[in-house]
Amino acid sequence: MLEIQELATAYGKIEALKGVSLSAKAGQVTCLLGPNGAGKSTLMLTLAGILKPQRGSVKFEGEELVGRAPAQIVARGLALVPENRLVFPALTVRENLMAGAYKRRDMAGIRSDIDAMFVRFPRLKERIEQLAGTLSGGEQQMLAVARALMSRPRLLLMDEPSVGLAPMVVAEIFSIIRQLHQEGVSLFIVEQNAHMALKVAQHFYLMEQGRVSFSGSPGQMADDDLIQRAYLGQQRPQTVES
Amino acid sequence: MNDAMVQHLIGLSSDMAIMSLLALSAYLLLLVGRVSFGQQAFFGLGAYASGILSAMFHAPLLLALGFGMMFGALCSWLLAMPTMTLSGLHYAVATLAFGEMARIVLSGWQWQVSSPDGPVGPAGIEGFRDIRWLLEHDITPAHFLGLTLAILALVLVVLMRTERTRLGVALRMTGQDDTLAATQGIDVSQVRLFAAAVAGALAALGGGLYAHRTTYIEPALFDPMLGVHAVGYALLGGLGTALGPLVGVMFDLGLLDATHLFSGWRMVVFGGLLALFLRWRPRGLLDEQLVHWLSQTLKWKVRA
């Protein structure tokens, strides 16, 4: 569904992405792991069209996205739930959701989707007319996800959905991710929290210093010593050979 | 070069030196990250204060100027107390409001003492005439220019020397990123208050010199456009060095005005140039990078 080839993005002279290639299959939850500063958020912002890459290609369902404005990328069916939520603080919860549906013109569909969001996220319903800037971190995260879903994306990008949230809230977020996956939404998630990610994703990539250094299934991740130690904090039990 | 041209040049140079002081006043505040549209008020207050001392109390010129400077510093410091903690935008508007309030007060204020030639002193909207200290003491325009240049040179030396001290660094750090500066232990409020006081003194000094040069001042002269020009000179000339504002002044008054280049379109050119500069060179012509490069190159040349 999503094919990224040799994508490179720089901030001035600093190359944050040094030639990233990966792909995300339709109907799957693909997870990108990596330490801070690896370039994961840069990748997400580039995919969303906020940042312009120096070279490389991003093909979404066969169509090239590089060079397109963010508005066109949303129209193609890609939506990003950004790191740090980035809700509209001076707009109400309801207005935030309306904003998410900006590219759509079907008023009836939008209204029924908003109702559906409130079923999925009951806490948001309680705060429907509240300014988004006054919500808690977890509520803002749910709002950010709901807002992204309002555009009925075919691929949902999520940048560190669990960061800065209490464990209970994190569990809620990940159960929502599982729900979406079951409903057929394709997801591409960036995470630092490898434990939670292992429970929902079907395919993993590891990114370090602007490059992809690992690609595999959860099982292969569990087998890999380095990953175990660095990201999962586990030591494999000593075998007879070593 | 005939006599008239020389006289004209002397006058122009005096004007440029005086404006440079006002531009330096704006520059100092820009260094600490504040745009002030009220420096013209301290220019005016300094003009009035110095004029009062010399014309009404027959104080010597330097004393009058000094008094004006202190008064300007005090007023600026008092204004800065409640306003420094405002956001940049609110601060700019507050200084603008203050500038207008000062101008209106001067328009309404009358205080005169009698003298052999009639009443002398601020006469509200009519202004303040007969600040004749220079004439009474036979100071020619050339002498005055010498004095003004000496004062300007002194100010520049002090400012440029301060750049290298901890104070100078603190000033610049506050302007670049005040939160970061605070985390480095710099008392941002104190630094800004100090900058405001000195800026007020500089503007008042310029005003005092102006009053004596022209012998007549009126409140209408000290309108926001004057302060806006001062900020413009500093921004165009460059914030990397105290010489920057001088470049801005020389460009406008020296090049554009004096040569009547683009006569009638001077502000169109100046404004357009400034806007372009702000887009691509927001720290002006002599910005920190260029000044740094120049000083490195000169050092290398001196060594070689």
Binding site: A48, L51, K52, A71, V74, L80, P82, N84, R85, L86, V87, F88, A90, L91, E95, A99, Y102, K103, G133 | G33, R34, V35, T83, T85, L86, S87, G88, L89, A92, V93, A94, L96, A97, F98, E100, M101, I104, V105, G108, Q176, L180, A181, A182, V228, H229, V231, G232, L235, W265, V268, F270, G271, G272, L273, L274, A275, L278, R279, P282, R283
Partner: protein, 308 residues
């Protein structure tokens, strides 16, 4: 008592003009979070173009009105392109980090428009060098009698128009799709991009529309005076600024209340302290509102609630 009521009514009616001229300024701030210091000069140059047309071509009032509004729109487009269009992609904002501390960019943001202010003012004065310039007059000199009060119908009409325009615009911004997208883009640029809003286009069109409003305000106000002077630019900026700031920069309804308050304060100040007192009071009011302690805490809330 009637005298006091008359003062109040006069003040409120004058306040309508202030609200009208402040509306465009408040809108540009609402959209860009930056103050357009070239605002007054934009309205003035547009008005001067109208006056020039009137003087040289004896153009009828409606044509002058259209000219002033269109001119203000075009000049506004020029100002926006030159001063405000250059916001570069700020990746730190995208990552949600608040803009830490006041830095050099705030200075630039404030300064670029005053350079154009200088430009536009000179262009206007070059066009019509005289101090007093005739402007088509729509003034009605006869006062209406409302009970014990005397009211100028033309000025009252202006105030009513100001109120209707302000309140109508505020309602439209809250209810329409475009209004939502404009508010969203002003609230958080990057988030607006992420939901597919045409942020740059909204900014440019919004700015031009605000300047069109300034043209409308300029025409309406000047047509009651029958003349325009070079002081108009500064007047428009300062009065508009006070009205907008009193009501909270960026708030459309706020500029109406701010304008009315300003008019009221000025009217009372004039009765007590004369013309100079009137002018002083308007700036003193602005100053007090700016430095007042409650504003500080409101600013702090806004600073935390509105990232970037």
């Amino acid at each position: 008592m009637t005298d006091l009521l008359q003062l109040v009514v006069d003040g409120l009616i004058d306040g309508g003009a202030y609200a009208l001229i402040g509306l465009g300024l408040s809108l540009t701030f609402g959209s860009l979070r930056r103050l357009n210091l070239a605002y007054g000069a934009t309205a003035m140059l547009a008005a001067y173009l109208g006056a020039w047309l009137y003087a040289t071509q004896q153009a009828p009032a409606w044509l002058v009105a259209v000219t002033v509004i269109v001119a203000a729109t075009l000049i506004g487009w020029y100002v926006e392109r030159l001063c405000f269009a250059c916001t570069t992609q700020d990746a730190t904002q995208a990552r949600g980090a608040p803009v830490a501390g006041a830095d050099g960019r705030e200075v630039v943001a404030l300064a670029s428009s005053f350079a154009i202010w200088m430009q536009l003012e000179q262009l206007a004065v070059n066009l019509l060098p005289r101090h007093l310039n005739a402007f088509p007059s729509l003034a009605v000199s006869q006062d209406w009698q409302l009970g014990e009060l005397m009211v100028r119908p033309d000025r009252m009409g202006l105030a009513v128009m100001a109120a209707a325009l302000t309140l109508g615009l505020a309602a439209w911004l809250e209810r329409s799709r475009i209004g939502l997208s404009w508010r969203a883009s002003a609230d958080h640029r990057i988030a607006a991009h992420l939901v597919g809003m045409p942020v740059e286009r909204l900014q440019t069109v919004g700015f031009a529309a605000a300047c069109a409003l300034s043209g409308l305000a300029a025409f309406s106000i000047l047509s009651l005076d029958g003349q325009v002077t070079p002081m108009f630019g500064m007047w428009a900026l300062l009065k508009g600024l006070v009205a907008a700031m009193l009501g909270g920069l960026g708030s459309v309804r706020g500029v109406l209340w701010g304008g009315l308050l300003l008019g009221l304060v000025e009217s009372l100040a004039q009765a007590s302290f004369g013309a100079q007192g009137r002018e002083f009071a308007s700036y003193a009011l602005l100053f007090v509102v700016l430095v007042a302690p409650w504003r500080r805490s409101r600013e702090r809330f806004l600073a935390t609630a509105v990232p970037g």
